[in-house]
């Protein structure tokens, strides 16, 4: 049975975990293709006008998946850390999506406090739209006969009855997540990290063995698993880079031959890593010879330490990471540790970013070359890349003049 995973929103954090979970539960995970024009247009049509682009894109992915999936996994990540929230829109996501999918049941991955689900269920009743009003009438092709909009028991046979199977699936999700975040922390971008993690699957025994030997720090699968154990990363990424231990792992440099500038990027993962939504900012910067640092590459303890002294803790996880990472990048720039500029990528009309972005702007704009990019469905590649080129000139110029 095929369960779709939309390649949007927090897929860039939890995609591998979702995939591993569904596989271990005996289902076939199907990830939607990378965002393209058709997906985005479908989302734009179906969603409310004023909502942010990433949510529209998510809806587009769901509409795409309903063509060939028996169910769609829709996360309701109320919070992924204690006393924090993700975003109000994420909480309403299943309810916004299910009304647009009249025939495909949604499997709600409901979590609060940690990304692992507290509850996995399907809301009863069909979507409220009638058949002829469905935004995609062709979408009925793959609906399997045996599935009704009942509850989770019908979606995942045996998962609610057999506790052991659920446990196994959750363990698999946790492990996949640990490996994936470990790779991100080593400086891989999500796309690469997922490819590597996929390659690792199939030889879990060897991986487990290697994890136990502390000496083989150079070996990639080993470090992936070791570092990934949630905040086990003792070595600072920038430190590694500064000592020249593993420069190729800090950011990824494909085309540039000169050492290149290091650009810190902050923003929500779906703005940074969805290369269609952000018109390929990351690739463009890499091709310009830049090394990239993102919040996901920084150890979380460091980010939290950088936020000490805030009068009130930020209660949006992604906002906290963005502000903390921007402060770290700024500190690295001050210490000549090699961050030449900071780019803040946010979605137009994003609620939390409106406030957090203001704080970042006020803190950073006088200390480090800083660029704020707002993405919406009208964002054009040429305009954005011109701005980036100008920004890179500024970042490089400052470096030459020794201002930073």
């Amino acid at each position: 049975m095929k369960v779709g995973i939309p390649r949007a929103l927090l897929y860039y954090w939890y995609g591998p975990a979702w995939k591993a979970f569904l596989s271990a539960a005996g289902l076939e995970p199907v990830v939607s293709p990378p965002t393209n024009k058709a997906i985005m247009t479908a989302g734009l049509k179906a969603a409310v006008d004023e909502i942010c682009l990433p949510v529209k894109v998510f809806i587009g992915h769901c509409l795409e998946l309903q063509k060939n999936c028996d169910a769609i996994l829709v996360p309701r990540l109320t919070s992924v850390a204690r006393k924090e929230y993700t975003c109000p829109k994420f909480m309403g996501l299943p309810d916004m999506v299910r009304r647009l999918l009249p025939r495909t049941p949604v499997l709600i991955w409901e979590s609060a406090g940690s990304f692992l689900p507290q509850r996995l269920w399907t809301p009863p009743g069909p979507g409220l739209l009638s058949e002829e009003e469905s935004p995609d009438p062709a979408g009925q092709a793959g609906t399997a006969g045996g599935i009704t909009n009942g509850n989770a028991r019908e979606i995942i046979p045996g998962i609610t009855r057999g506790r052991g199977r659920m446990k196994k699936a959750l363990a698999a999700a946790g492990k996949a997540h640990a490996i994936y975040t470990g790779l991100l922390r080593r400086g891989y971008l999500p796309e690469e990290a997922m490819a590597i993690a996929d390659g690792l699957r199939g030889r879990p025994a060897g991986l487990r063995q290697k994890t136990k030997s502390p000496a083989t720090g150079q070996d990639l699968p080993d470090t992936g698993a070791r570092v990934g154990a949630h905040g086990e990363a003792k070595q600072d990424l920038i430190g590694l880079y500064g000592q020249g231990v593993k420069p190729d792992r800090v950011g990824v440099q494909r085309h540039g031959t000169k050492p290149g500038r290091v650009i810190g990027l902050v923003g929500h993962p779906y703005c940074l890593y969805d290369s269609f939504v952000n018109t390929g900012i990351l690739r463009f910067l890499q091709e310009e010879g830049c090394r990239l640092l993102t919040p996901e590459m920084l150890p979380e303890e460091k980010i939290n330490a950088a936020l000490k002294g805030l009068p009130k803790a930020i209660y949006w996880t992604m906002g906290r990471l963005a502000l903390g990472a921007s402060r770290l990048f700024r500190a690295y720039a001050r210490e000549q540790a090699g961050v030449d500029g900071l780019i803040h990528v946010a979605a137009f009309a994003c609620g939390p970013e409106a406030l957090i972005g203001e704080l970042i702007k006020r803190e950073c704009s006088r200390e480090i070359p800083y660029l704020q990019i707002y993405l919406d469905e009208h964002t054009g590649e040429a305009g954005l890349h011109t701005r980036l080129e100008a920004f890179l000139d500024l970042a490089g110029g400052k470096e030459r003049a020794g201002c930073v």
């Binding site: 109000p88 309810d95 609620g351």
Partner: protein, 378 residues
Amino acid sequence: MRLTFPRMGQIDIPVKTLFTELGHEVVAPPPVTKRTFDLGVKYAPEFACLPFKMTLANYIEAIEKGAEAVVTFGGAGPCRFGYFAQVQRRILHDLGYDFELFLLDPPGAETRELLRGLRFLFRENLKAPGRIWQAFRLAWAKAVFLDRANQLYRRLLPRVAQKKAAEMEYRKFLRVMAAERDLSRLELVYTALAHNLENLARLETGRVLRVKIVGEIYMILESGVNFDTENILGQMGVEVIRSVSMTHWVEANLLKALFPGHRRRTGLLSTPHLTSFVGGHGRETIAETVDAGINRVDGVVQILPFTCMPELVAQSILPDLSRRFNLPVLSLVLDEHSGAAGVMTRLEAFVDLLREKREKDMAKAGVGGEARNPTGSG
């Protein structure tokens, strides 16, 4: 130390009373004007919601008038309201305004900050808890009577021929209410208003259209930013009902433990359509629209500020409710670029639609159409 606070509808009357009775000097922010908009838009982040911009401007205008401290509420998310004060403090600090911020966060979020704020508010009366109690009682009674009067005014305005006279009565009531310090006289003030308004009302008026207003609380209550939507509708002969009010907010948020019914009602009504809370008033919007549908209200107007996250979730779901209950819904997304004429036109068109729909419904129901909702007639 002269205190100020953010403005929202008539909240300045009870809040000013409370602070004055507690022995503080109060500088209330002036009503929303063009300048308030200009200040807010100039200094606030572009995508912040209108409440953020307007409260920021409130502080600036109050500080210019001599306020030295700001008292405001916080929150623990996920709505942006809980983080307003932090960003506003930073912005005002960068602008060079000097003031002290007292943040009344809900217990559990920043308890230390809450205690500091309370200690400051009560510092004149720490030895006399009786006076604190008196102050709260007076302020709460005023809030209750203000809400009651507002409800009465909304119900009677469409049934009054001399709308100007009714408005004058209401304004007079607000003035008297603001100045009154005697708890026992509040009821008299209210009864006088009720008496005068009822005298103006023509009871022979037939069944008037009823429209429910739902949405974000600041945008609903602050007539300066919603172009006085309620009044416009009332002048058009439409009765406006709403459950969002300042006493409701206090009961549902600050006195949650004493009034569990609000949350239960919201949860029960909204769950089939929105299965989790989404912060702000998102879930209330869904619940109250369902309530409007069940009770055969003629239409629903949702008022929300541009970029409001919880209301956008609600707005995404409202079309289903509209279809299900055969209930026209108008979503007014307002920001600093909205114009009075545009809002007016949309409201007029909406009311026309409601009138026509009711006539059609009545024709369909035959002669008995009038009796469809007997309690609704004035």
